[in-house]
Amino acid sequence: MTALTCRFIKLADGLLRGAPVTVCRAGAALQSRAPVIQCIRTHRTNTWWDEHLTEDNPWPRHEWVEGSRRVGLVAVKLGMMPVWTKSGERHVVTMLQVQDCHVVKHLSKEEYEGHTAALIVGGKNVSPFHRPEGYLEVFRNAGVPPKQKLTTFCVSDNAIIKPGTPLYAAHFRPGQYVDVTAKTIGKGFQGVMKRWGFKGQPASHGQTKTHRRPGSLGPGGDPAKVFKGKKMPGRMGNIYDTTHGLKVWRVNTKYNILYVNGSVPGHRNCLVKVRDSILPTRLENNKNPPFPTFFADGDEEIPEDLYDQDMFQFGEPMAE
């Protein structure tokens, strides 16, 4: 079984690196629209270039315009570490690693039944076994290994990307602001003090068996009922939550790690959805991003580490 997985992943790697690859899988033949690449390319190529160069190219690359929305990424939360500015202030950052992020599907405005087009993006690679066939079919059509998490990003029409394109951490640049969405840590069934922040009752002075209870449930005879949505004990956590307006301090292009200010919902090694911030006060910082995304094959040469202007870089000789 492991041999099969190896071959399957090798196929993906082959598609990614353009090396000669044999397509074989036990059972059904691989029905992939992606052509089997026969030639060995000298540089790393990750998408099918021919389509970009033709004239009626369905996936053209546009320039960034104000008001356009571009894709986001799916990343893995690694951990946190301190960061210092050039003036000596200390901030904490969360490290988010972009592991095997690919665009998996494109939904046009009509398909998505919204006002914008949508792109489905997948995160971290997982094994194709123990997964339903319908789930795997989406990835087979895109020519991409199956992913652990799929999210949808609402995207303006000039920012659509061909399914199968890999997305990298350099999609975001230091100084930008992002919103991070993830499932919060599940706390189980929790009482009203932890779940909603109620004050409870005093510990002493005659309180009989009442220290952490909700107290009154509402007004009396007139409604003669408890309103819907009353805050009560129940299951806490394990729901999607978004933290808005987090600054990107640093981008490591070698390991694809984003250093994002502050904390992010979710436990370590959980998958998070990162996208450009929608806060109106942060729109200025998000101008002129790599649009529609950062392409690794492009001519743009970027260094291994991209730092924000204010951030203190450790190689610098004791700056201040």
Partner: protein
């Protein structure tokens, strides 16, 4: 004039040869200009004239650079490099370690332990001369990775002062070890309840010379405490303190009463086992290989 110096290999044990040399020497001394041709080796051979003359190479000039401290030859890995026992991706630790090594290339962070006396200089915008210097005994080293800290304690004008410094803070200018030594414990927080003489150190203290090889000296000092109540119940076995003179401040009954909180199963708790041997080796190689910094690794 032919050169009198003969190659070493030909100088087998033959005193006759030496006698010839002596004769030659006597002749050549009459000609002052030929004295230049007399090589030092021949003179030496003439002087020794006992068995085969041994080649003694000239003494190499030993350059003692007094401006820089000698590099410690002890195999020491700073404790903040060892990652905690967590389910974290090792990529996170390796990327953090790269940053730490980069910082160590610029600032020399010497080897020190809890119980050593350090002098730390930080840049401070609110100080006249811009540098804020503090001398104290290290009572605790905590934190892993870039957030590693150490606490220095001293008594200034009768007031006990503890300052927590971050090792990798960019405002840190200089960390100097005035006296390198270890104590009987890993954590000297009990100095807060000890007599102030044990925490007071002179700010103008001169660095004490310490060996760069061999074991770090362990001071067997046992500290006298102020009367109870203390900030923590130091006599309890969970703190496992060996550096306090309990016989002077506690009775036998109190010591036995404290043993009620003993947890004798703790050393056998398998879930707390954390074998860092192989990790340490690998990290030590990484740190040594990459750090060619100012003074010492």
């Amino acid at each position: 004039m032919f050169l009198v110096h003969t190659p070493l290999s030909n100088m087998a044990a033959c005193t006759s040869r030496v006698r010839e040399m002596m004769g030659l020497l006597r002749i050549l001394r009459h000609f002052p200009q030929n004295e230049r041709l007399l090589s030092t080796s021949i003179l030496r051979h003439a002087a020794a004239s006992d068995g085969p003359p041994k080649f003694t190479p000239p003494t190499k000039p030993v350059i003692i650079d007094k401006t820089q401290k000698e590099a410690s030859l002890r195999r020491f890995l700073s404790p903040e490099f060892i990652p905690p026992r967590q389910r974290t991706n090792p990529v996170k630790f390796s990327v953090e370690r790269k940053d730490m090594i980069q910082r160590r290339k610029v600032l020399n962070i010497p080897e020190f332990y809890v119980g050593s006396i350090l002098a730390v200089a930080m840049t401070d915008p609110h100080v006249n001369g811009n540098l804020n210097r503090f001398v104290g005994i290290c009572i605790q080293r905590s934190g892993k990775g870039l957030g590693a800290t150490f606490i220095l304690r001293n008594v200034v004008d009768g007031q006990g002062v503890e300052i927590c410094y971050e090792l990798y803070n960019p405002r840190m200018r200089k960390i100097e070890v005035l006296k390198l030594e270890k104590r009987l414990d890993d954590n000297l927080m009990y100095l807060r309840d000890a007599l102030p003489e044990y925490s007071s150190f002179n700010f103008d203290m001169q660095p004490v010379h310490y060996e760069i090889t061999g074991d770090v000296p362990v001071s067997p000092l046992k500290v006298k405490m102020k009367p109870k109540p203390w900030s923590k119940r130091w006599e309890r076995p969970k703190f496992n303190i060996k550096g306090i003179r309990f016989d002077l401040c506690l009775t036998l009954e109190m010591m036995e009463h404290a043993q009620k909180w003993a947890e004798p199963w703790r050393p056998y708790d398998m879930l707390k086992e954390y074998d860092t041997f192989s990790l340490e080796e690998q990290i030590f190689k990484e740190v040594q290989g990459k750090s060619q910094n100012v003074n010492s690794p």
